[in-house]
């Protein structure tokens, strides 16, 4: 299974992969290239990755989600050149009921942003370009009672230096 692709993403095959007769709730997330960043007009971007680790980290995140909740999940992330409106990341999570599906879907996107080694270079309307530093993530998401309080993840110091919080 490869989680990175330089081809356009399509949600439908991911949904098809996680659906099954006993799973009545399917939650999906699409991350889409937007046309602005901190007041500047973005014309396109490029994702690059430390591919071997990105694949390994995606597999770990998925295994964690499937251990925390009774879910089946699928995830793909683009690399290479993307235009405005292109899908950068696609996630599908299917569970017997909606709560677990929503929670697993949210967990996946937050952990991908936090842990998977992918970088984004933005190209602006004025002809300039820049590597994009991430914004601080949202507050810690709610976890089900009994779930591990935190995933084995990025060392704590990262939160204070690279996330700007």
């Amino acid at each position: 299974m490869s989680f990175l692709t330089d081809q356009p993403l399509d949600l439908a095959p991911l949904v098809a992969r996680v659906m099954s007769p006993e799973r009545g709730g399917v939650a999906c997330f699409l991350g889409v290239v937007r046309d602005h960043h901190e007041g500047r007009t973005v014309t396109r971007l490029e994702y690059s990755a430390y591919e071997a680790m990105a694949e390994a980290e995606c597999a770990r995140v998925i295994a964690e989600a499937e251990a925390k909740w009774d879910v089946s999940v699928a995830l793909e992330h683009r690399t290479g050149r993307l235009e405005i409106g292109d899908v950068a990341v696609a996630i599908a999570a299917a569970a017997p009921h909606r709560d677990a599906a929503f929670m697993a879907c949210r967990y996946l996107i937050e952990q991908v942003k936090r842990r998977v080694p992918i970088w984004k270079r933005e190209y602006y309307k004025d002809g300039s370009e820049a590597w994009v530093a991430p914004r601080p993530g949202p507050q810690a998401m709610e976890r089900p009672a009994g779930a591990a309080s935190e995933a084995p993840s990025v060392p704590e110091h990262v939160s204070h230096t690279d996330w700007g919080v």
């Binding site: 991350g31 992918i118 984004k120 690279d162």
Partner: protein, 88 residues
Amino acid sequence: MTVSAASTVTVRVLLFASYAEAAGQTSLTLTLPSPATVASVLRLLRGQAAGARLPERPLCAVNLAHARLDTPVSSGDEIAILPPLAGG
């Protein structure tokens, strides 16, 4: 004086995105005294042109997994220095 192989550690260091751009290269091989950690790799790297502009505590990985500064490293390990992540 010849340093015996057992008392040194040779690792491959990978640089990505803005760090690779600043360094002008994407990988290099470093040999340092044993025992070594991610922190000692960074210390040696900072003394070279390729690592001169690295931040104080960059995100690092050892053999495809996130690591801490005190994570030990062994000969043959792949150490990656990761700029702030921006996937998703």
